[in-house]
Structure formats: C-alpha cells, structure tokens
Amino acid sequence: MSETDELLAIADNKGASISIRNVGMDFARRGSVVTALEDVNLEIPAGTFCSVLGPSGCGKSTLLSLVAGLASPTRGTIALDGNPLTGPFHDVGIVFQSDVLLPWLTVLENVVLPAKVKKLNMEQARTTGRQLLRDVGLHDFCNHYPGELSGGMRQRASICRALLAKPSVLLMDEPFGALDALTREKMQQDLNRIWAEDTKTVLFITHDIEEAVSMADQVIVMSPRPGRVLRRYSIDLPQPRTPAVRRDPFFEETVDDIRNLFHEAGVL
C-alpha cells in the first residue's frame, strides 16, 4: 500500500472498539508494590467518546498507557477491535498530560512529526497539519517554536499532532487541565466538533466532572487508588454537543449524581 493510500484508508474508518477486561496494574518500587489499577472492566464501542473521571493518583494515566500498549497490564487483557494488545499500538493519537512538543521544531514541524516518524507523505501531512492548526486558531504560529507559545497554545498544538495521522483511537490525558476556563470551554467545543466530523474512538481523561459529561457518550467514574470503576454513566444526549448541553436537566442531574458519588467515596 502506498503512503497516500494508507492515509486515505485510515481517513474514513470509524475507529476501533476498545475492551478492557479485568485489568490490574502493579508497580514495584524499592521492594514495595503499588497497585495502581484493580479489576478494571470497560467497553468502549467503536466511534464513541468515553470520559474517565477520577481523583488524582487513581491510575488514569496508567490506564491510558495500557490502552496505548506502552505498558502491559499485570493482570487482565486489553483488546482493540477484538485483537489483544501485545506491544505499542500505532494507529493511535495521544495527547499526554504534559504537552510534549519538541522544543527545537516549529509548531508545524511538531504537528507533522507522526508523518515523519511513520514515513508518510510529508507534503500531504503539511497540508493537513496547517488545516488542523487553522481549526484551533494557531495558523499564525506555524513557524514559531513551542517555547514562544502559551501553555494553552502548546496543548492545542499537541492535539493537532495527535489528530494528524487520522488515528482510529484518540487518547487524551487531561488535555485541557492547563487551560483557563474560557479557552477550556472553547477547546471542548472544538474537540467535540472535530470528533463529530471525523468519528474515532476517544478515551478522554479528566478530573473535571462537567467537562467529562459535556462531551462523552459514556462517563466512567473511578475510585481512589487502587483505581476501580465505581460507576458507569451513559450520556444519552445527541451528538455533536452545543454549549446548551450544560443547561439540559439530564446534564445537571448527572453532574450532581457524580459529585455525590465522589462525596460518598470520600474524594470530595
């Protein structure tokens, strides 16, 4: 398959389903064992948006790296489209908790990095990259270095990079954590729109309840460490979402319910 064909073939897929079965994860450190995740079960149908909510240190980032195949679970299995993961999964876009742009590359060069590493057509990648940067309002900063950008702008650029190769799975680890409330809401809408236009499976990690509910088809609430699934919420509101979703009675009800759940779990 030529490079262009490959890009096109991935372009109109509907994402991959993710299934997480009985997953547990231990970290051994200087003799003691820290259990980060315990008996996590989760099904994310292809092309749906799943938010994971949980207190700090409950294993959200760990879960994400397991789904990306960057680490192997101590117990249980993770399968993508029914195929158990054995190594890093490459058809994935990741936005890490820390924005990891390479400081010596311009914003555009950073965004097209996936194409460069995967040896795809660079011309096409640059066109796509510019378009993505325009979508998030960064087209004036294509040739700037990341060090010249604000935290929020860097995070937006990382999102563009994650989307570039049109991955079938998008993993996002508190991507808007560093943003101010205003930019944050704007980014939530943008992400929701981009996702609705080009559906892929999204695993979105956050500890903002409203953010989780406003975009997702399902919200997974996790317990404090060791992280387990406390409860699963289906958010049966039409997609794509508009800002008006926050005034929907169902939205408010769900947000309240999750807040109470955290109260009971002793997190809030």
Binding site: P88, V92, I94, F96, V100, L102, K118
Partner: protein, 260 residues
C-alpha cells in the same frame, strides 16, 4: 542605526577600561613597585618587547589545550552515551568515574611526566584528564532529561529506541552537552599550564617560570593576558560551533537570555 547588541557589549567594555584606568593610576599614585604589581602600561610594553616568544609559547599551550580538550570530547561523549544506554555500565563504571574525581588532577601531572616524558603528550593527557569529566557528567545528565512522555510519544508513533535516541534524546541533551563542553574548554587550559609547570621546554607555563626566575614580573603578567586570550578563543570557538549546529531553542546562550 545602532544594533541593540551594542548595548550589551558596551557596559562590560567600559567597566574593563575603567578597571585598567584605575589600575594604571593606582599603581602610579601609591608607588607600587613593579615586582609586586606592574602597571597595565608596563605589561603592554612587555607584550610589545617579547611578542615573538609570547606568540611561539602561546601556540604551544594552545595546541596542548586544544588537543586535550578535543580528546576529552572524543572520549567523553561516546563514554557518556554508553553509560546512558547501559544500566549495567551506569551501575559499574559511572560511580567509579565520579569517585575518581576526588583525585586532584594536578597531582597526576608529575606521574604523567614520569610515564610520558617532557614533550607534548603528558600536557595533552593532563588537559584531557581534567577536561573530559564535565563532558561525561553533563552528557549523562542531559541524556536522562528527556521527559518520559516524550519517549512514550515516540514509541507510540512506532519509533525504535535507536531512532528515539537520535531524534529526541540527543537533541534534548545538547544544551547540557554544550554547557559541559564550555566548562571543559576552560579546564583544558588549566591542564596544559599545570603540565608545563612540572616539566617543559616551551609553552606559556614554561615562560612564566622563566620570567619568575628572572624577576621579569611584567612578562609574567603578559603570559597571564595571553592565557586568558587562549581560554577566550577556545570558549568562543565552542559558542560559534554551538551557533552553527544548533537551532535557536536549544542554544544555551539564547535560553539564558530568555530566562532573564
């Protein structure tokens, strides 16, 4: 139009000239004897009188220092890369290397003279033994400074660990590597001079000993001036190379400026 860099260069130049002025005036005013502190004009005169031999001996010292410095980089960089690639080496060699730094390198000089004679080699080796450590340590530290998420990002894109090393970890380490190299450049000159103090027939250190014996104090100071020039030449050569091969965001100078 006056380039803005003028405003950065002018204050230290003025400060330097003022210092020279006070020195000249002070020596004259307090009648300081020349064998204690010669006036800048006397040092200048010594440079003018002895410029040929100063030039020749500077050349010798420069060559010793540069060879030791380059050898330090040539050995230090690969060694650091090996250490950061192999946890086994990091546990065995690296602690020994760090411990070896408690040996005062200067005290090695007489031994090197016994082993390698009076020529170029012992000086180069002393310069090398001092210069190489900052390169190793800074490179090892720099190579460990890549954020783990950056490495995970490359992994998820299907980059092999060798590719990730070349494409990400080395560039991320370059500011540290150059910081180490700059320290080494100054150390190498120290090494060369120490070697010359012990046993030599040429070089600025040798010339200093001669001048000292003959109580030609202005010449002693003239050697000092040329030594600082040698140090500055090597240092700015490194800065130039850094400028030529590194993109702006990785250059330590620019970053220092930006941090202010």
């Amino acid at each position: 139009m006056i380039p803005p860099s003028i405003y950065k260069v002018l204050p230290p130049i003025f400060a330097f000239l003022a210092l020279i002025g006070f020195w000249e005036f002070g020596v004259d005013y307090f009648d300081v004897p020349q064998y204690v502190l010669p006036a800048p004009s006397a040092i200048g005169a010594a440079i003018a009188d002895h410029w040929q031999s100063l030039l020749r001996h500077s050349g010798v010292t420069l060559v010793e220092a540069v060879l030791g410095f380059l050898l330090g980089i040539a050995v230090g960089l690969p060694l650091a890369i090996l250490i950061s690639c192999s946890p086994w080496l990091e546990r065995t060699i690296y602690p020994l290397l760090v411990a070896s730094q408690s040996i005062p390198k200067v005290a090695l000089a007489p031994i090197f003279v016994v082993w390698f004679g009076f020529g170029l080699l012992p000086k180069v080796l002393i310069a090398f033994s001092i210069a190489f450590f900052p390169v190793v340590v800074n490179t090892v530290v720099g190579l460990s400074r890549t954020p783990p998420d950056m490495i995970r990002l490359m992994q998820s894109l299907g980059s092999t660990s060798v590719e990730t090393f070349l494409r990400v970890r080395i560039p991320m380490a370059t500011p540290y590597i150059f910081a180490g190299i700059k320290i080494s450049s100054a150390f190498a000159v120290v090494g060369a001079i120490v070697g010359e103090f012990i046993a030599a027939t040429s070089g600025l250190g040798y010339l200093q000993l001669i001048a000292n014996n003959n109580l030609e104090i202005p010449l002693l100071f003239a050697c000092l001036v040329l030594l600082s020039l040698i140090g500055a030449v090597i240092y700015y050569a490194v800065v130039l190379v850094e400028h030529l091969i590194l993109p702006a965001p990785l250059r330590s100078q620019e970053n220092d400026e930006a941090r202010r």
